[in-house]
């Protein structure tokens, strides 16, 4: 028997899901827990009842690793220090590594999602020095000294960020895959002052696609979060 694959401890299962079943995709953060959970599940009979979607996790991880290395083992390695969610991380990475891959593959901050990987869908949106960017089109080595905030860094302890709370309140998602990007984008949209009407929210959130079509609820969530955000002194 593989030592890595211990039977599930029920207390651990309870620990991963503070949102009552909504956080399977780490919409609200908690780095590492989902993969750990899946690894655990894959080694037990529980996997059978969880269905085929979760059984393929091993190959998903392998595919992600291949994509990151770019298929060239001899590539040079660069040292970079990234400040993410208030913590400094020292990394040795191939210079081709995008900020998104650095977060997901090197730092296990898998809240930020890889959707299109070409800057078209917004699932990878993170905040850099308070500004929203597509982390999939940005090389990690260019971000030394930047203050990077991901979905994992928005909540304060157990207290959700107002935008996270509003997305829960208004059911601003269905499958949840675009949600970390939507929430990071919405945080910036509000702080930029671009969330003053439904039309403005639609225009200024247009860089975040939702294939489930949860847009009306996303607009409602952003509007509510905006109304609860103190106006910026200008």
């Amino acid at each position: 028997m593989n030592d890595d694959l211990q039977p599930i401890d029920p207390s651990e299962l309870a620990g991963i899901d503070p949102t009552g079943g909504l956080d399977e995709l780490l919409i609200f953060g908690h780095p590492g827990t989902r993969r750990h959970f899946l690894k655990q599940v894959a080694g037990t009979s529980a996997a059978i009842s969880l269905g085929p979607a979760l059984m393929g996790i091993g190959s998903i991880e392998a595919a992600e690793t291949d994509a990151t290395s770019g298929g060239n083992a001899s590539a040079a390695v660069t040292h970079v220090q990234l400040r993410i969610n208030g913590r400094d991380h020292k990394l040795e990475i191939d210079p081709r590594t995008t900020l998104l891959d650095a977060l997901r593959e090197h730092l296990q901050l898998t809240g930020s999602k890889k959707g299109c990987d070409h800057g078209q869908c917004g699932a990878c949106t993170v905040l850099v020095n308070g500004r929203r960017i597509n982390s999939c089109l940005s090389l990690a080595v260019t971000h030394e000294g930047d203050e990077i905030t991901t979905i994992e860094g928005l909540a304060t302890g157990d207290e959700l960020h107002p935008v996270q709370a509003a997305f829960l309140e208004h059911d601003g998602f269905q499958c949840g895959y675009c949600t970390p990007g939507q929430i990071c984008s919405a945080v910036a949209c509000i702080s930029e002052g671009h969330a003053r009407s439904d039309a403005e929210i639609r225009e200024w959130m247009s860089g975040n696609l939702c294939r489930c079509g949860a847009y009306p609820n996303i607009v409602a969530a952003v509007k509510e979060a905006q109304s609860k955000t103190p106006a910026k002194a200008s």
């Binding site: 590539a75 800057g119 929203r132 639609r202 225009e203 200024w204």
Partner: protein
């Protein structure tokens, strides 16, 4: 993505010398187009020189009321929201905000936007064997392919790709001047001469030399730029490239006689298309819809459509009329 070496330039001079020191070197600014093209395997630089942190991001007034200088590394979002740009060149602000998404505008630089490459499907995806821009001499996949987004003015049998930028269209109407630095010093390139028509060398997008760096964009003083409008026609209400776009600015006397006019078109050519024929038609005439339509007809007289994009010819005419009607009706 092919492997490359990465380094950061300390200043513009170092960046320029690094460019000439090693072949297949590219500058990295915002990366929104270059990194994407590297992922696609279209761009395969051996060396990237990161210029993203060079102090060239200011927007400042030129002395003696000569206009405004925008640093090449100013982010699209910062330029669009800058008070000087919004007040004096609202056209540029509108064009920038019509482009891409808030995230991309926070990354993309003015210099990079000038260097943005075409979104022709046959160029962007190396799975298509034919593209004279990507692989000179291989032919043009779009000519007899799916060419809905392609050019109707100034194209050649070698290439019918379009320049995808909104910003460039506004810069063409504002007669911007591109400042560049090379090993032998600085020079200025008027926007009209910056981008090229494809001719027999569609692989060359611009007249920027391989050892030159864009340092700034100058906007000459243009009082009537306050009466301007950027009209973008696209397949979605937001976050889509232009099918056709029009940048228009107009000056009229008290009797509505046109005393100055600038028109540029996007989405129709290999470069931002300054509509000089239409402008000539309009000068000295009274502003009304019939006059606008005649000017649009004159500009598009030489247009040529293909299987999927012939609709753009009428669309461009109507868009010109709409944009001119909008600016003529403005209070300024």
């Amino acid at each position: 993505m092919n492997p490359f070496t990465y380094s950061r330039a300390a200043d513009a001079a170092e960046a320029v010398s690094a460019l000439s020191a090693k072949p297949h070197t590219k500058f990295l600014g915002g990366g929104t187009n270059l990194i994407d093209l590297m992922k696609m395997g279209v761009e395969t630089p051996a060396q990237l020189i990161d210029i993203g942190r060079l102090p060239m991001a200011q927007v400042e007034e030129l002395p003696d009321g000569k206009g405004i200088r925008i640093g090449a590394l100013a982010r699209n979002s910062d330029v669009a929201e800058h008070a000087l740009i919004q007040q004096r060149y609202p056209l540029l602000s509108q064009a920038l905000l019509a482009g891409a998404s808030p995230q991309l505008r926070n990354m993309a630089t003015v210099g990079g936007n000038l260097m943005q490459r075409t979104r022709c499907y046959y160029f962007y995806d190396p799975a298509f064997p034919q593209c004279n821009k990507r692989n000179p001499g291989s032919g043009c996949g779009a000519l007899k392919g799916y060419n809905r987004i392609h050019a109707i003015l100034g194209q050649s049998e070698q290439c019918i790709a379009t320049n995808p930028s909104d910003m460039n269209v506004a810069l063409a109407a504002l007669e911007a001047v591109i400042r560049v630095q090379g090993p032998k010093g600085e020079r200025e390139i008027p926007i009209a001469d910056f981008h090229r028509l494809p001719g027999t060398t569609p692989n060359v997008d611009t007249n920027l030399k391989e050892d030159e760096l864009i340092t700034a964009v100058d906007l000459p003083a243009m009082p009537f730029a306050t009466r301007s409008h950027y009209l973008k026609v696209r397949d979605r209400a937001s976050y889509a490239f232009a099918i056709v776009s029009v940048a228009a600015a107009i000056e009229m006397d008290a009797g509505k006689k046109i005393t100055a006019v600038r028109i540029a078109l996007g989405g129709v050519a290999h470069k931002p298309w300054r509509a000089k024929k239409a402008e000539q038609q309009l000068m000295g005439k009274d502003a009304d819809e019939k006059v606008f339509r005649a000017a649009a007809e004159a500009e598009l007289a030489a247009a040529k459509g293909y299987e999927h994009n012939s609709f753009k010819i009428e669309l461009a005419k109507r868009s010109i009329v709409r944009a001119l009607t909008t600016v003529a009706g403005m209070n300024s």
